[in-house]
């Protein structure tokens, strides 16, 4: 059995470890951004007493004459075409309530459903109050800030290590073992309750811990970053990945590999 106790270590600020040259201008709600009235107001700001004030906490972004503040931690704001992963919380007469980490619960109308119990749904329409109406396309849940999921063309990834990942735009992630044969489901969803093999389980646990480490170090999540992180973590034992120093090490390695790939 393993038991590890340690004294707490103060966290290093992320910008230090990245070695960024420019210091970002961080604001908190209520801070004055500028008193120059020539700028256009973007998201996260409002005009008050002749000056531009921030309404969310985050770095100030400036594009020519537009100033906006990008919030660090937000709820999911739905957009048409997004893929989300949600949890059914309530069953009502004609619709299901789905929890998608947004400001309001999303609604899944029975008429627009292909798969009962479907976990994957596409955003069909956004109501004015922020509730999103979903319709399904046709299952180890992790919640991650929505801002860290990169917008991409496909969100269903079959990783070569033997597991598949669905990255929902709302921050929910579903990891499952790759099914051996792809079935075209015309309809009908059979809950697969067979036990998962030990090898698959290890892959899934390792992937989960890798994603958790990427999130803790505030890195963007997409198939390449997850794959590199998985490969970097192979020399360590699965449960060691959650230790702070191992986490930093594998994320550094992932970051380097990604930079090399781009450059």
């Amino acid at each position: 059995m393993a038991m590890e106790m340690r004294l707490p270590v103060p966290r290093k600020p992320v910008s230090e470890s990245l070695g960024r040259e420019t210091k970002k201008h961080l604001v908190v709600p209520g801070d004055t951004i500028t008193t120059d009235t020539g700028f256009m107001r973007g998201h996260g700001t409002y005009m008050g007493e002749e000056k531009l004030i921030a309404s969310v906490a985050g770095p100030v972004e400036r594009v020519n004459k537009l100033i906006c503040v990008k919030a660090l931690k937000t709820r999911y704001n739905g957009e048409v075409g997004d893929i989300v992963v949600g949890r059914i919380t309530e069953v009502q007469q004609k619709r299901w309530k789905v929890e998608t980490n947004s400001r309001l619960d999303s609604v899944l109308l029975l008429s627009s459903m292909n798969l009962p119990g479907g976990e994957l749904a596409e955003v069909q329409a956004v109501f004015s109050d922020g509730a999103v109406s979903l319709h399904t396309r046709s299952l180890k849940y992790g919640k991650v800030p929505p801002s860290l999921v990169k917008r991409q063309k496909t969100h269903f990834h079959d990783l070569p290590c033997g597991a598949s990942v669905i990255l929902g735009n709302n921050g929910f992630i579903w990891i499952y073992p790759t099914p051996e044969h792809k079935e075209e489901d015309a309809g009908g969803f059979i809950a697969n309750l067979e036990p998962v093999s030990l090898a698959d389980r290890e892959v899934i646990s390792r992937l989960r811990n890798c994603i958790v480490s990427l999130v803790t170090q505030r890195m963007l999540l997409y198939d390449t970053s997850i794959l590199y992180c998985y490969e970097a973590s192979l020399p360590h034992q699965i449960k060691d990945i959650l230790k702070p120093e191992v986490m930093e090490e594998i994320v550094m390695e992932t970051r380097q590999r990604l930079l090399e790939q781009e450059g």
């Binding site: 038991m3 106790m5 340690r6 707490p8 103060p10 646990s205 034992q237």
Partner: protein, 291 residues
Amino acid sequence: MASVALSEAEKVYIVHGVQEDLRVDGRGCEDYRCVEVETDVVSNTSGSARVKLGHTDILVGVKAEMGTPKLEKPNEGYLEFFVDCSANATPEFEGRGGDDLGTEIANTLYRIFNNKSSVDLKSLCISPREHCWILYVDVLLLECGGNLFDAISIAVKAALFNTRIPKVRVLEDEEGSKDIELSDDPYDCIRLSVENVPCIVTLCKIGYRHVVDATLQEEACSLASLLVSVTSKGVVTCMRKVGKGSLDPESIFEMMETGKRVGKVLHASLQSLLHKEESLGPKRQKVGFLG
């Protein structure tokens, strides 16, 4: 406890994983998550400690105050426990939601300390029948991430280790009235011996096996758990079963043995960490809450 909604497939996945000794985060059935312990975090208490176990965050403060001993135990001081489930921990604790859980935890703490050897209560006595030290132990739940009892008992032990009670002298006048004098030196104090203070090990029964240090999701899959309070020598001071499900007497015996084994290792790690922290001296960098 804070509950988490899980689908059937997720529960089945967790149960099967436990059978094969590979939990969702890669741990084995007897592995603990990484624990962070820090003492002396609250400056206006006699002793304090903060424990982070995964997503569970506990803060304990101990205040020593003078009072009259209980009638049935005139030569001893005593401990009073109070547990506050802050609404920060989970929205369920808003308002009076956390009171039930708080009373349950406080009652468990009273039970495990309700024996002669856990804390030397006679050392808390100043003058029999008149004055004694009462230690008010306040537990604050900052974040709820599963396995509350273990984290709370570790924090209470660390806080008691950190407690410094000022030395007092009783002076008798010619008329017979007593006066209590506090020593001038603020560092002149007595420390409690926490060698026999027990720690709680929670064993959750999932499927046919039991796990130590369950996360919220694993607790949602388990119907019954056993709380075993173990001292550093492996002596069980108290045992309690929680949950709606039933436990086989044989599995209770197995779980108790696991609890004793795990408890001894827990105590050894905690003891060595507390001594290491103390050896760093007053110049150590305190992380506190903003680290």
